[in-house]
């Protein structure tokens, strides 16, 4: 282990506690900004890969500056390499850009003989990437199912409907409620966070058996949030 951490050639020995601290702090700051972005974002242009890039980019940039270590020549080298890659490839996704920047900086770390920094940087960046993939970070998964139906009974009896919904879902949010002009019924739209997504047919069957429920239709909600 010590041999792996003593592979940097340079004027001063690399302090790996500081390297780790810098990358962890960059990760924390990135994740915090990503959360702020997720909760404040409005409109339809939400992109999960952009949110992931918000976390990944600070970690990579921290590593870039540690590899550069005030060396202007290496900095120009980074710009040149990135320009060459960008010139021949159209990077449409910000996450792709992050990956390209990550491999460039790891290559620079090896090229400038900061071998241990390259190893530590690879491990940290890979760990962050795997973490983001495993937790599906940035995925705005609030509901599993969109349920539309017509309620033909009195509005005061809607809790009976919600009693059935509560059996199958952790959370049931009524997104739309449109009463008929004669007040004999209403078109209802619910967003459900299901207890068991495999039991949607059972839910539909129970709703069908409930008096006053008509025209039941459902749609998975996942596809709607990822635009």
């Amino acid at each position: 282990m010590n041999a792996l951490l003593q592979g940097d050639y340079g004027i001063a020995p690399t302090n790996f506690e500081t390297v780790l601290l810098a990358m962890l702090l960059a990760f924390l700051a990135g994740q915090f900004i990503a959360w702020v972005y997720m909760y404040t974002h409005s409109g339809i242009s939400y992109s999960r890969s952009f949110v992931v890039s918000l976390i990944l980019m600070p970690v990579i940039v921290a590593l870039v500056l540690m590899v550069l270590s005030n060396n202007l020549v290496t900095a120009f080298g980074l710009m040149a390499v990135f320009a060459i890659v960008r010139f021949r490839n159209i990077l449409r996704d910000t996450l792709d850009t992050s990956y390209v920047l990550a491999v460039i900086v790891l290559g620079m770390a090896c090229g400038t003989q900061k071998f241990s920094t390259a190893i530590v940087g690879t491990l940290v960046i890979a760990a962050v990437m795997i973490y983001l993939w495993y937790t599906s970070f940035g995925h705005r998964h609030r509901y599993d199912l969109i349920l539309n139906l017509h309620w033909s009974r009195a509005a005061a009896e809607i809790p009976e409907l919600e009693r059935v919904l509560g059996r199958y879902s952790f959370k049931a949010h009524c997104a739309n409620r449109h009463f008929d002009s004669d007040s004999t019924g209403a078109d209802l739209s619910y967003r459900l966070l299901l207890r068991d997504p495999e039991r949607v047919p059972d839910l539909i069957r129970d709703l069908g058996n409930l008096p006053g429920v008509e025209q039941v239709s459902s749609m998975k909600a996942e596809d709607e949030t990822e635009i």
């Binding site: 601290l21 962890l24 924390l28 994740q31 937790t135 009976e160 009693r163 207890r195 039991r199």
Partner: protein, 367 residues
């Protein structure tokens, strides 16, 4: 009001998916925050000032011009105060011979001035004359010893050449005979001086009347010459070089056989134990340093160690900051000192085992 229906069971895989997507980012964030907090407290706290561990330093210098011989210590060797680390042959025999000749001439001059003195002082003068004669013999003995030293040096040098057949047998025998003859003369002269000494001591004057006489002035002059003679005799032998402090040899300026001038350094010694930690507070002063104020001391060696120290001394004037500390503070080091600071000394924590010259970070604990 109807009771809620029994919820359907949630499969473990689905429950884990919920945890993975909703709670794992929070857990990861908390873990990373904890790791950052630990690393921050250990590594990031910026030092109030940078200090240098200092030990006593001493230089062993030549008390007189001469040649270094028998230097028996090497770099990083531990020595104790008073330990003989080598010898200083004060000056070459030829120079010593000249000094003795001067003393001999001056004693002859004094002997000549005794002749016109009146008869009533004759007895006293005879005593002085006898003492002068004895001193003359000692001068001759010292001169012979000098010649013997020179002859032995020549013999040693010639012996090496003789072994490689670069000096003839006749020449080598001649030099050896000269040395042997001088050795015999020194022996005979030494015996003569030793035999005369008891008589001289017995005839030492007792100035009962306390009057200042001609012989008194003469005796003072003789005593002065005797002191010079004793000094010259002392210089015949090598002078021991004594270590001034307990410590470690950190520099060796001269080797065996090299000549040194008066006050020229031969060895530099550094104390084995760190006595103090010195740092400089640069203006504008971030705090008012007071004696006893506590600081956290952090080493810069791996693994980092920390201890609490306190100010023991605070300097009065601003002084130039040493180049080593300037470099440690990432400040430009100029040939002319431009950065001034207030010198502050700290106590040495016992459990850190600092090395002399080691740089440490000092962080103020008291607001």
């Amino acid at each position: 009001m109807t009771a809620p229906l029994d919820p359907v069971p949630t499969p473990p895989a689905h429950r884990w998916r919920q945890v993975r997507m909703q709670y794992l980012p929070l857990v990861a964030f908390a873990l990373a925050l904890g790791a950052v907090a630990v690393l921050w407290t250990q590594w990031v706290a910026p030092p109030t000032l940078i200090g240098e561990a200092e030990a006593d330093r001493a230089e062993l210098r030549a008390a007189a011009p001469g040649t270094v011989t028998g230097l028996n210590v090497s770099l990083f060797q531990a020595v104790t105060a008073g330990q003989v680390v080598g010898y200083l042959q004060p000056q070459p025999p030829a120079v010593l011979e000249a000094s003795l000749a001067v003393i001999r001439a001056e004693i002859d001059v004094m002997r000549a001035t005794l002749d016109p003195v009146s008869g009533q002082q004759r007895v006293a003068l005879d005593r002085e004359r006898l003492q002068l004669d004895w001193m003359g013999k000692r001068v001759e003995l010292a001169a012979l010893r000098g010649q013997l030293l020179q002859a032995e040096t020549t013999l040693a040098r010639t012996a090496a050449l003789h072994q490689t057949k670069m000096v003839t047998d006749e020449r080598f025998d001649e030099i050896r005979n000269t040395r042997d003859a001088l050795l015999a003369q020194v022996k005979a002269q030494s015996e003569l001086v030793e035999q005369l000494e008891p008589g001289i001591r017995r005839l030492s004057p007792a100035e009962a009347d306390g009057k200042v006489s001609v012989t008194q002035g003469l005796r003072a002059a003789i005593q002065q010459k005797e002191s010079e003679l004793r000094l010259a005799e002392t210089q015949l032998g090598p002078q021991p070089l004594l270590a001034p402090i307990d410590g470690i040899v950190t520099q060796s300026f001269r080797r065996n056989g090299e000549a040194v001038a008066t006050a020229e350094p031969i060895l530099a010694l550094t104390g084995a134990q760190v006595n103090r930690i010195t740092g400089f507070l640069r203006p504008p002063l971030p705090l008012d340093p007071q004696r006893g104020a506590r600081f956290e001391l952090r080493t810069r060696t791996q693994p980092r160690r920390a201890a609490v120290t306190a100010i023991t001394q605070v300097g009065h004037p601003f002084e130039p900051v040493p180049p080593t500390l300037l470099a440690a503070m990432h400040l430009p080091v100029a040939a002319q000192p431009t950065d001034l600071g207030l010198r502050i000394q700290f106590s040495v924590p016992a459990n850190l085992a600092l090395r002399p010259g080691e740089l440490v970070d000092l962080i103020a604990l008291d607001p």
